[in-house]
């Protein structure tokens, strides 16, 4: 994984450290990040995105505390081996829950029928 794989949106309501943590969780869940794979250094991520290194550290520490990442001596952070098995589709779908709820809420406000929203979503995904 490269630092550029992360998407940082400073103006979102979600703090940057959570944005980073969430994305890494998703990469690990989908096995895009394999167990043992080393993450880009705090410095590289901070430098690439012009963000404060402490913010990156905080995201990594959070995931380390959860057991998702482990600190390798002299090599930085890597995906923990205990997470060897990729998650099921069902479990991965759970990661989208918050975003889907938000789409559902806004679709309701806009009085859009589900079929229409789903069609647009399908179009976006099959692009």
């Amino acid at each position: 994984m490269k630092a550029s794989a992360l998407l940082i949106q400073p103006s979102a309501a979600e703090p940057i450290f959570r944005q980073i943590a969430e994305q890494i969780r998703r990469f690990v869940a989908s096995a895009q990040l394999a167990p043992g794979e080393v993450l880009p250094s705090v410095r590289d991520v901070a430098e690439f995105h012009a963000i404060n290194p402490m913010t990156v550290s905080r995201a990594y520490s959070l995931l380390e505390a959860e057991g998702l990442l482990e600190r390798l001596r002299g090599k930085g952070m890597a995906v923990a081996n205990t997470h060897a098995r990729p998650k099921s589709q069902e479990q991965r779908l759970d990661f989208l829950d918050a975003q889907l709820r938000e789409v559902a809420r806004q679709a309701e406000e806009l009085e859009l029928p589900a079929a229409m929203v789903l069609k647009r979503l399908r179009g976006l995904m099959e692009k």
Binding site: I8, P10, S11, A12, A13, E14, P15, I16, F17, R18, V42, R43, A46, E47, H49, A50, I51, N52, P53, M54, T55, R58
Partner: protein
């Protein structure tokens, strides 16, 4: 020497109870702040909120009507040359040495600083396509600001104070400056204070954010916590509202009778019961929205 007791490693900047007025206009009305080593403090506030005044007082360039401020533990008005060498300050409109060329000014200033980084100066001048032979007075405002920033950063300061550094810079140069600030804070533990009205800059690079409003500091908190400890609660017109809701910072009644509140909670703590009320909507705020709500 200062008569005040000194701790082993005092914060690079701190102040307590600062008050200042210009004529009858109260600018600062009890500002207390400390910036620990390695922190990047982003200071926001509307135009005229007193950001520059606060910075000038902190650095001892202006004597406040009341209160006290210190740099590296020394009272700001009593900074000696040795302490001044450890800090760099870029004012909003850098004007110094305007009769010199870029190169002459940088060489002259560099002579006063033992840690002057000549390689950095050369690399940045090349990167920003600024000629050493150009007269400072002939530079565009953006170039002048860039030169002032190069000059400040080349001294490898322990404390870097930037007043609206982004004002005259284009987006590319601005991003580069942010990157440099983040790098210095991370690698060298440089303490940085910068004022800005570009909230996204602050969100990227600040570790601590504070808002100056009506002479006081609001929302002075670690950057990462601000978004999670503050939210907007919107309630329909018919909701019964107590005088004061726990954590309430702002209350606004809208034209349709609905009410929105800005609420603060402890990190990881609960939101008030009222958020469960019929028709209530609790939403996270971007920093921009939070500052707008607080600055109304």
């Amino acid at each position: 020497m200062s008569a005040l007791p000194m701790t082993p490693s005092p914060d690079p900047l701190d102040c307590a109870g600062l008050r200042h007025s210009f004529g009858r206009r109260k600018i600062l009305d009890g500002v207390t702040l400390s910036v620990p080593q390695g922190a990047v403090l982003g200071l926001v506030g509307r135009n005229g909120a007193g950001k520059s005044t606060l910075i000038r007082i902190l650095l001892g360039l202006l004597r406040p009507d009341g209160g006290e401020s210190r740099v590296f533990g020394r009272r700001s008005p009593e900074l000696d040359d040795a302490l001044k060498q450890r800090l760099a300050y870029v004012p909003q409109q850098p004007e110094a040495f305007h009769w010199m060329t870029v190169g002459a000014m940088l060489d002259f200033v560099g002579g006063f600083y033992p840690r002057w980084d000549t390689a950095y100066v050369d690399a940045m001048l090349r990167r920003w396509s600024i000629k050493r032979s150009a007269a400072l007075s002939k530079l565009s405002p953006g170039e002048r600001q860039s030169v002032a920033l190069i000059r400040a950063l080349a001294t490898q300061p322990e404390l870097l104070v930037l007043d609206e550094p982004a004002a005259a810079l284009d987006p590319v140069a601005r991003r580069e400056l942010l990157r440099e600030i983040a790098r210095r804070a991370g690698d060298s533990g440089t303490t940085v204070v910068f004022s800005t009205h570009i909230v996204s800059d602050l969100e990227r690079v600040a570790s601590q954010a504070a808002m100056l409003h009506r002479g006081r500091l609001l929302l002075n908190a670690p950057m990462d916590d601000l978004k999670e400890t503050h939210a907007r609660l919107t309630l329909p017109a018919e909701t019964g509202l107590p005088q004061h809701v726990t954590g309430e910072l702002r209350r606004r009644r809208h034209g349709d009778g609905s009410v929105s509140l800005v609420l603060a909670r402890e990190a990881g703590g609960p939101w008030p019961q009222l958020c469960e009320a019929q028709g209530a909507r609790l939403e996270g705020l971007s920093l921009e929205e939070l500052f707008v709500e607080m600055g109304e």
